[in-house]
Amino acid sequence: MHEGVTRRTALRLGAGGAAAAYLAACGGGAGGSEDNRILFKTWEDHYLPEQLTEIRRQDDIAVKVSFIDDNLTNLQQLKRGGRFDVVSADALWVPKFRAEGLIDTLDPDDLSTWKNLYPAARNVSFWTDAGKPTCYPHGWSPHLLYYNPDEVTTPPDSWAALLDRKYRGKVVLPKEPNDILAKAGVATGAAKPFAMTDAELARAKAYLTELKPNILKLAQAGTEEVRAFSEGATVISTILGFDLRMEEAGGPKARGVLPREGTIAFADGEMVVASSPKRSLVNRFLEADFQPEWIAKRFLKYPHPHFDEKAYKLLVDQGHGELADRVLYNRPELPFDPEQVALVAPPPNQTAYTDAYNEVFGA
């Protein structure tokens, strides 16, 4: 699950803040002639409205942003002829876009900022096709187990710990069916949590059935997670920065722990749409978008790790090193370690995943 994913849900639910951000983005970046306009479909943590204003002023590129509902809708919109130039996607959804012929590869030699990336992010096998990258790596975040230290004395450092009956009605999970099944897959030792076999899926389902009495609710949006944590939940499995969001909201304290069995994570990047006629403008936009100064600013607003090493160093120089390390910005290899992290992917047997989810969470 992705920070943007939860925020887009808030958008769908009519959250004014997100709508305001969208309007700000449109206001800041829209306009300009057809020739210098980039249509950017992404999540809200991938840009800052003031950054788009600056890109317009400095680089004469007008960026019109529209938000992603989810990876699947994103893919389907593009397949049905959605007109975009740059589109973001999560981890193993990127190869799917490539396999469908919807995106082009990038040429790192054309992008002066590419060298700022951590080496671990420069040659990711599933983000490479015929020796060329299929996306510009943006950021990532694992799902941690956050707990309220005032209520929970022994940190729940494993998925198995959540089954303890002392957590009855105290656990919150983000409402993303595939992510929930994949977490259960990690908990029960599935080899590929986003591509489980029937037997693995059955074990994951059994785990969730056992866990269900402990689940207070499946939280729909970022703000819903915060609300649920303030409404009696003591453990929540979500992306990095939840502790900071709770702090900001003035709610109960939250402390995060990486589950022993491993976890799931998002890792996303920007893809160049194959049908875009503005290839050189897109490259100029990507260079402007991935300036370390802006990445550092974006990090401070949405604190999850990025793949840009130069921005990390900048953050350290600015005195934000502790925060950056706390949210694992200095661990760029982690999302690509399958022993510890299962990256978000489209399940090849989606029907089985959806059926399993409904069968657990129905009455």
Binding site: L216, K217, E231, T354, F361, A363
Partner: protein, 282 residues
Amino acid sequence: MLRKYVGFVPAALLLGGLFGFALVVTVLYSFWEVSDFEVKANWTLGNYEYLLSVGTYARTFGATLAMVASATVLTVGAAFPFAYWLTRHVSPRWRRPLLVAVVLPFFASYLLRIYAWIAILGQNGAINRALQAAGITDEPVSLFLFNRPAVVLVLVYLYFPFGVLALYVSLERFDWSQLNAAMDLGASPLVALRRVLLPQIGPGVVTAVVFVAIPMLGEYVTPLLVGGTKGVMAGNLVATFFDTGEYSRGAAAALLIAGFVTAALVYFRRSLDLAAAADARH
């Protein structure tokens, strides 16, 4: 000759173009398959077989019916005395402002209204604060939110105006002198209500039930926000199918619910016709 149908054209276009087309697509999807996130026109009964063979769906639909029935009874039960009072005891000058007050919540966002209830029912909400202030509880009670009663309560609140409006229209047309006559002839007020008023406003009551119960059957936002894992309704399972690209399963589930609603409407309609026929015989 054709001129008399001109007025029908906009509705026909709207319903035929939007509702009719969407319905046809939904029916087709329900008999097709999804493969690699795309609907493929491979005919199958598999979606229906799956939904009818897995107990979860029947149980969830049963739970949904129970919640909707409870919420409908409470909504109409609360709306009837209010509409009665409005037509019987409020001067015509004050009726309109009071009716406006009833529909006033519609001016606020649907989500805001639900969130307001979360603020009331939550651990830091008004009820818990009142209980603690009154010394009844020492710490916040988590009984009020994220369960079925919370869903029923919020549904009653959300659909109360529909119930009031449907009943008000019916009561406003009633000739109250008949009620007075019944009581003059010795009927108690309750008997007069039951044997004189209710039979005559039957269609209004049925309309209120239909207006309230049918949209409730399709609810998924309310249970999502206040129901937790205990208050899931059928709409939530349908929504999951569509959210994950399982359009065929979702279409079949939606049609099964729609089929039930249609059957219920036919039943209501027939019972009204039978009641009218019985009245005519007497």
